[in-house]
Symmetry: C2
Subunit: 119 residues, 2 copies
């Protein structure tokens, strides 16, 4: 087996977000793009799908992989799934960045790193 | 905090795949769509980005979330990231389905379930 690529995967869950923000895609997209910029990642393609009556799945293909965004306005809940081959900040730093961008408390952000073997 | 949505997330890694398959997107897409059908999931939108000189990121927005696909032909490696609110087969069954669809040994498929709290 040849060497695997190096993969960093982070899953973030944001709680207690304003339902109006989660239903206002322009505002949400601006926050997500601020996150991508702060992580020094680059978007090469993006698209989204709006569910009925509410909820959006947005997808950002990055030059070094992807960020998928899922909203559940009825639960005040946002889910972010980031996979990248590029070095990104650790869990603690990412949590801080997310709480700043989305203006919520640190306790309302949960970040997990999905571990990958290096061989 | 209101109840969180129920989320199932599976990350699959496939090793030792034929580099030609990973560079032949039509064939790869057909395999991925077979997987989606076997999991009783439904595509609502799809798109992809081809990297230079090789490697593809493909994104399938599902009626119940997403499947993201990343290829690394130079490593004979395929990465699948599935998030869904719908019940899907467990790790063992998913591993079997993937080995059948991609015609590789069970030992060449690694499947992990990312756990989510239910409250």
């Amino acid at each position: 087996m040849k060497n695997k690529p190096i993969i960093h995967q982070m899953v973030a869950e944001l709680f207690n977000l304003d339902e109006n923000l989660l239903n206002d895609y322009a505002s949400l997209e601006s926050s997500v793009e601020e996150l991508i910029a702060r992580l020094n990642l680059k978007i090469v393609k993006k698209d989204r799908y709006d569910f009925s009556p509410q909820g959006t799945t947005a997808f950002f293909i990055l030059s070094s992989s992807h960020l998928a965004v899922h909203t559940w306005p009825e639960n005040n809940y946002l889910h972010l799934d980031l996979i990248t081959c590029q070095k990104i900040p650790g869990k603690k730093e990412l949590k801080k960045i997310l709480s700043e961008i989305f203006k919520i408390k640190l306790g309302e952000v949960k970040v997990r790193e999905i571990p990958y073997d290096r061989n």
